[in-house]
């Protein structure tokens, strides 16, 4: 209990240190998640800043993916999963009664661990979200959305001549960028990425990391990663999770050079995890 309180205080104390002007996009207060009787998150407090990349790191099973899935209510699809506490986006309660999870997910997009393009053409993959949300009334408009999304995801030049070919025919790295483009097409505020590079080779990973850095201008990004170099490379803020607790959250540089908690130090120096 003591460590939990400490970590919570640490988190609030450290939250907006280096760049105090940056507004907070999403906020978690005492978020607890239960899978049946098993508690997966033990009261998380975290501020996610706008137009920043926040990395969530920690050993397997520490709850970082669970937390990520709370942010767009993907946990709703898992049976007997229960979320307590308060989570907000722009001040609106995510689990509030007047928020429809379907609309929330249009605001908070998600990219998954394994590239999961739909078995449709590249064009239809991108157009899927805009279509269901009625975002383009005209064919030309849709063409533009598709082109812009692919350009932002850095995939346009590679696929512009084969938009009608199936998305499943692309390479793994291209597929993942297609999934990112698909998420961008709905023009969300926040993009959640759950280990987006764990199924990719180093070159494809470098591509995605560059992309994440560019996307920061327009989107708030939360990324779960097992790769600590990746967290150091792409993020401005890093939160360290351990056994369902958020142990420490600070500027990425701080966390990697000068961690306050010995558990964080143990993890980043490779003693466990």
């Amino acid at each position: 209990m003591t460590t939990q309180t400490q970590s919570r205080m640490g988190a609030t104390m450290n939250a907006p240190s280096a760049l105090p002007a940056v507004p907070v996009k999403m906020q978690a207060r005492d978020v607890k998640v239960f899978y049946g009787a098993k508690q997966a998150l033990k009261g998380i407090n975290l501020d996610i800043q706008e137009n920043r990349v926040m990395a969530l790191i920690g050993p397997s099973g520490c709850g970082k993916s669970t937390f990520l899935r709370c942010l767009n209510r993907m946990n709703d699809t898992i049976e007997n999963c229960r979320v307590e506490g308060r989570l907000t986006i722009d001040g609106d309660d995510i689990y509030g009664r007047d928020i429809d999870p379907v609309q929330l997910r249009a605001r908070v997009g998600m990219v998954f661990q394994k590239p999961n393009p739909f078995p449709k053409s590249i064009y239809d993959n991108i157009a899927y979200g805009p279509r269901i949300h009625g975002m383009a009334s005209h064919r030309d408009e849709m063409d533009e959305v598709v082109q812009k999304s692919l350009q932002r995801a850095g995939l346009w030049n590679e696929v512009k001549d084969r938009l009608r070919e199936p998305g499943t025919g692309l390479s793994g790295g291209q597929q993942q960028r297609l999934c990112i483009a698909r998420a961008i097409a709905v023009s969300p505020d926040v993009i959640l990425m759950d280990e987006p590079c764990s199924a990719l080779d180093p070159i494809a990973t470098a591509h995605i990391e560059e992309l994440i850095d560019e996307l920061r201008e327009n989107y708030t990004i939360v990324i779960v990663t097992h790769n600590m170099q990746q967290a150091a490379r792409v993020s401005q803020k890093t939160a360290f999770f351990h056994l369902g607790d958020m142990v420490e959250c600070d500027d990425t540089e701080e966390i990697f050079t000068n961690p306050r908690d010995e558990r964080t130090q143990g993890y980043i120096t490779g003693r466990y995890g």
């Binding site: 767009n72 609309q103 997910r105 499943t168």
Partner: protein
């Protein structure tokens, strides 16, 4: 009798051989089992196989050839005046011999030479059986002893036993294949006989089906007419009605089961739906004939339509109900095979559940669903009982589901029920119909399997 004894002897020797082989292998390495090439049980199985298998093969070979072999010897021993006749005479002679040998009355005063031949026949068979018992037992003991002597720590017993098992497995799969080939061949030959009597073009495109043939030449209507189009049309009509019932209901049920039902509901509902598949088709037939057909008629009367008491509609609807579990359970499997990651991807973009099902899950599962429907169609085409009981036998060429129609399978059943002469086109036409039916369902199944295969490659 002797042959049963032989089988018992072989079984006992195999069991004894198993234990001998196992203990000998263990003794050969002084109980240090790890030094053996194979686990001791394989040495046991090796000895058991040597003890049982050669003698068993001898037993089978004797069982197959015994009758022919003994008959040849008996015929050779008969006087020339009996055997120097044509093939038919020989066949008659053989039949007489067999009847006498089995103590049956031939109805004629038998020739003393034939009686002697029959006794000779019985004596030879007795002798042969004793010989096989003695020789088989000796072979089994010799095999057991030989195999036991060969056991050494370095002997690769497992490889040899597995090779034998491999051959047995191949043999079992050959049984299925050879049976299929046999069925197809018999169908093709009988159908060829039919098409020698009836022009295939008339059969395939003729519009009038009336297979009644006169038995005597002077009877009225001495040649039936074999235009099968009304049967094909009836089959098509009933199949379409059945599919109109089964595909939407089955598919919706599958979607509910795989996407909306909670796991508890699913485990409760799925077996119940599958009970529907376990009901014998004859029972569906009762239901169609006694409940559904009068019901359809009453409804028709109420709205002023003329409905015959045996209607394509009643049979088709009940057949559709019968096929629902088939469609739903196959589609359910296909829908479940769509990776969860695709659903997550769709939800993650803000799609609702119904949008996800309509736009992602269904298109991804479509090839599999098509395959399921094709298999269901070939079942509907092959279904006989419901149609026989509920749709009638009159070969009307009509597209009106309220009239009585008949199907290919129903006609085959009625053509072959009871005593039939197998040289009349009436009976043989059943094989012509069967061949067409077989080709159609085979084609459908092949297309369905091809589609399923293509679909599998996509996600693996």
């Amino acid at each position: 009798m002797q042959l049963t004894v032989l089988l018992v002897v072989l079984a006992v020797l195999a069991v004894v051989g198993y234990h001998l082989g196992r203990s000998r292998a263990a003794n050969a390495v002084g109980g240090r089992i790890v030094q053996l090439h194979s686990v001791p049980a394989y040495y046991g199985a090796y000895v058991a196989l040597w003890a049982g298998l050669p003698a068993f093969l001898l037993f089978v070979a004797w069982g197959v050839s015994e009758g022919w072999l003994v008959m040849q010897m008996v015929l050779a021993g008969l006087p020339d005046r009996l055997t120097s006749v044509d093939a038919q005479g020989i066949a008659l002679l053989k039949a007489d011999l067999l009847n006498l040998a089995h103590g049956l009355n031939t109805g004629r005063q038998p020739d003393p030479a034939v009686v002697a031949g029959a006794e000779h026949y019985n004596a030879l068979r007795q002798l042969g059986d004793w010989a096989v018992l003695g020789f088989g037992s000796a072979l089994a003991v010799a095999g057991l002893w030989y195999a036991r002597e060969r056991i050494s720590p370095r002997m690769r017993a497992r490889n040899q036993v597995e090779r034998v098992i491999n051959i047995v497995l191949i043999g079992c799969s050959l049984v299925a294949i050879l049976t299929t080939v046999g069925i197809v061949l018999s169908l093709v030959f009988e159908a060829a006989r039919f098409f020698m009597a009836v022009n295939p073009l008339e059969f395939l495109f003729g519009l009038h089906w009336s297979p009644q043939m006169a038995i005597r030449a002077d009877q009225v209507g001495s040649s039936g007419s074999f235009g099968a189009v009304p049967l094909f049309a009836g089959t098509l009509l009933i199949t379409v009605i059945a599919m109109l019932v089964a595909v939407p209901v089955g598919l919706m049920a599958a979607i509910f089961m795989s996407e909306y039902a909670t796991p508890r509901m699913r485990t409760a509902l799925k077996p119940i739906l599958e009970v529907l598949a376990g009901i014998p088709t004859v029972v569906y037939g009762f239901f169609a004939a006694l409940t559904m057909a009068p019901f359809v008629r009453r409804i028709g009367d109420a709205v002023g339509l003329d409905v015959s008491s045996e209607s394509a509609l009643a049979a088709g609807v009940v057949m559709g109900v019968m096929i629902i579990p088939f469609v739903s359970s196959l589609s359910d499997d296909v829908i479940n095979a769509v990776p969860q990651s695709l659903r997550d991807g769709s939800y993650g973009l803000g799609a609702t559940k119904s949008e996800t099902i309509k736009l992602v899950v269904m298109p991804a599962a479509l090839p599999g669903i098509v395959a399921a429907v094709m298999l269901a169609v070939s079942r509907a085409i092959g279904e006989t009982m419901i149609v026989t009981m509920a749709a009638g036998l009159s070969a009307n060429l009509t597209a009106n589901p309220l009239e009585a129609v008949t199907t290919v399978t129903t006609q085959i059943a009625t053509l072959l029920v009871g005593d039939q002469e197998f040289d009349s086109p009436k009976t043989l036409s059943a094989f012509g119909l069967g061949l067409v039916l077989f080709i159609v369902t085979l084609t459908l199944n092949m297309i369905a399997l091809r589609v399923v295969q293509k679909y599998r490659e996509k996600y693996d």
